[in-house]
Symmetry: C2
Subunit: 221 residues, 2 copies
């Protein structure tokens, strides 16, 4: 071992920036304007600089695409290094990250972007008809699965909502992520210890208003 000085490889960070919009899980995609895969849809990514930490590169990428830097759920997913990517002569290892962002937060910052970005329905983009750049389709499938699994045994779903939310809103998030409908009463029991009433109310339509909740202090981990 320890021949590190000589064997150097290009390292990239590719980013799954996820949000929920129109009752669908969506991921931010950009259109490539360079070869290879010119014109194809791709995940946003950056090259990791020589003196840069991985998480710094990740945050840099996130900021470039969304303008957001703080209070965002961020998770490393997997490192893809078994394919010959981009220029065949140029081996690249790619570390994939995932960020979950409430739709409301994106609305503000995303308009200012120059480059074209689209939030694509994850289910749709994973269908046969789409050809994505590199192994990005696999990455998205991997990320979707990770979210789905974590929804079952963590509180990851909360990151798709702002600090304050109603229980019907929260339940909808869970239903989208799990891909099935839940019973209202049961869902509420399952999260009752994790949320606390703010005392505020939210009126929406011609029906009873819903209470506004936030995450309970003890369960922010």
């Amino acid at each position: 071992m320890d021949a590190f000085r000589h064997e150097k490889i290009a390292v990239a960070v590719d980013f799954l920036i996820m949000t929920i919009e129109d009752d669908k899980l969506k991921v931010l995609m950009v259109r490539r304007n360079e070869e290879p895969f010119k014109g194809a849809l791709a995940l946003p990514g950056v090259a990791v600089a020589e003196e840069e930490t991985l998480s710094h590169a990740a945050r840099r990428c996130l900021e470039e695409e969304t303008g957001i830097t703080e209070n965002i759920y961020l998770e490393q997913l997997y490192t893809w290094g078994d394919d010959c990517r981009r220029d065949p002569r140029n081996r690249v290892i790619s570390v994939s990250y995932m960020a979950l962002i409430p739709r409301e937060l994106l609305a503000e910052s995303i308009g200012k972007r120059v480059t074209e970005v689209l939030f694509m329905d994850v289910t749709e983009i994973l269908s046969e008809q789409y050809k994505l750049a590199f192994d990005h389709k696999e990455m998205i499938a991997y990320g979707r699965e990770r979210i789905q699994n974590k929804t079952e045994y963590t509180t990851i779903a909360f990151h798709f909502l702002p600090e304050e939310f109603t229980l019907p809103e929260l339940q909808k998030i869970y239903e989208i992520l799990l891909g099935k409908n839940l019973f209202k009463a049961n869902f509420r029991k399952s999260i009752q210890d994790i949320v606390e009433d703010t005392g505020k109310m939210k009126k929406v339509g011609a029906h009873r208003p819903s209470k506004i909740y936030r995450r309970a202090e003890d369960f922010k981990g």
Copy 2:
């Protein structure tokens, strides 16, 4: 983006080679004979060559340390790139892998090695008194946690045993990984669909012999 040609980084694979021995979860460690951390215990690792895939580098490392190449449970864990490792001027990103190997398999091949290798008790090596090279202590802690979690919702524990095993042996593996005792009858119910009787028996001491099982065909996923 796409400045990949210029920004190159040394990439390493570090390996958690795990087994269960003497009723303890153990990990293979080597003693470094080079600076930095000369003399300290470290996980085995290799530098990823420019034209080498990640999983190839991982298998190369595994073979170097154990002589084993096939039928081994292998899993990528996490990519560590937020520290300044080794020579401070020389940035290294390290992809950690984990292999689970039945003790019986190691017995054969491990003797042939030149370098000193030790299987260390994971609990012990994570204790205060040990100082390991680089961020290897974190890696081990991370791997132990991953195994523990996966033991609860997958059949990962089976990889610590050979093809054929008795249920008391299997239960012992689970107890070690979960860190708690299990009720015999309950444990057997929980795995009854995953195993099948081979018809063979195993005699050990002055007591009733145990049936020998294997994993059921349908549950090898």
